[in-house]
Amino acid sequence: MKNRNLTFYLLTLVAMSLLSCKNEGEYHSITDKIEAKQKPYHGNLSSEELLADTDLITVKEGEFTFLIPERKGQIKSYACIECHSKPLEQMSNSSFDGKRAHWDIKINHASIETMDCATCHNPKNMNNLNSLTGKDIDFNLSYKLCAQCHSSQFEDWKGGAHGKKVAGWAPPRASMTCVNCHNPHNPSFDKRWPVQFNTQKVIERQEGLDGAEEH
């Protein structure tokens, strides 16, 4: 009787140890797992609903096709030719000393040797942007203008390493374009105060309750 019980326990033990060889060891690393299980996503989730309220246009750059927000509808004073009906030199009036249009724009983008207004704007055709070689660039595709100098950022942006998505992770991909985050006249981000300060953490550290980090 005792022996039979013992054999039974031993057998279960062996069976258990065999069963516990689960599938965890199937892949050596997460990269192996990704490689083995990857497939283009055509699942139930989509960002379309999240993007429904945003006016988007499709761009195709090299191997990448994705959506970016439409721009011209967001510029308050577009179309520019509603005011700029003549070339700029005919419009300028040095004797005028009231508040001018665009008084609030100060260029803080590269040095004056490198850039001025006319690097991007065409005084003869204000409705379009102006490439370095004098070709028209549509306001909706202003990233082409930025990409002339910022080529590495452009590469990262196309792939998705630079810039934010408009909504979710699920396809279709919609990415912010340069001017959605950077003011083209003053593109760098300002210094500012963090939005959070954890007063509780300060107390805990003073009391030595937080052993994880000691300064």
Binding site: I34, P40, G43, N44, A161, W169, K191, P194, Q196, E213
Partner: protein, 378 residues
Amino acid sequence: MSDNKKWYTLDLGLNKKKSTSSSCGCGNSQGSCTSQAQQTKEEELSADEFYERAVNAAIGDERKKDGFEQVFDVKMDRRDAFKKLTASLLIGAGAVSSCTSITKDSDSKEKAQIDWEEQFKGNYKLMTDDEKKSTVDRLMRSYELRTGKNINMSSKNAEEDVLFGYAFNISKCQGYMNCVSACVEENNQDRNSQMQYIRIHEMDDGKGFNFNEADDNYYHEVPAEGHFYMGTQCFHCDNPPCVDVCPVQATWKEEDGLVVIDYDWCVGCRYCMAACPYDGRRFNWSKPEVPENEVNKNQHYLGNRMRKKGVMEKCTFCVQRSRKGKNPACVEACPTGARIFGNLLDPKSTIRWVLENKKVFRLKEDLGTEPKFWYFMD
């Protein structure tokens, strides 16, 4: 309610209320049961009968035995024993008083019933979809009964062909901490203890990742001269040590790679907290409190639903958002675009482009934890 549920139900006679439109066992939603016991129909219970039934449900045939016999001569497994023990305790305290007392109304009886069923529900990991649905329904109803407000709680499972991954651009992070506050608001973290899942570390330039000298609670204008910033949170490891050490299997890795916690199964031993090499887990030393008007009412059972005292919690990559196709709150809040989130299994996703084209690394890679959270630089 289905009849084949896995939790233990004390029959308080409540199920009969549909036919008699009353909610107490005696058919009286207000007032004492005994005072009108004579008027009850045959199928309804008097207070004495109710008590009899409750005791029966709790200790059953042990009553007929005593002493040594009662303790040792009963066929039951550990789980049964625990159920019965708790049941008898409850009879003394909560259940009886709420059902037979003079002042309690039908709402508190429903509350008691919900609490009862919640008490004896199973581990979420083992639940069928129906059971998952009924537990979130109960929790939503319970919140409504307690606060008069409605919440929306999901029990959505992992999507097929999805494995979530995250990339963090160290060159882009400026230390503004918008992610931290968005996370707290999204995930209903305790405001009193100022619990935060994300930590942003201010590191000295030229010293590399020196966490001993880094500051994760700075308060000055950022980015500060001579410093760089990097964030840590739960990395949702593919080989998570926190899951291995959990003695009650209250934490596990879901099919889409999210490491989640069943807050109702967690016993609060904090083994996982000790096992995590990244300080990704948080413990509720006190009852988490969020002002009613700040509660995010779009919740998931495994995500941002209200926790209780004495349980673990952590970042879930905002399971309530990511399983709907949205980005986690930190990704959406980041003003610099330093945070990238996506589906690792989709070769066309942006996260995959980052992994394949940038020079990426992970923290403490040598531990073999396989975090699904990569760092990179421009």
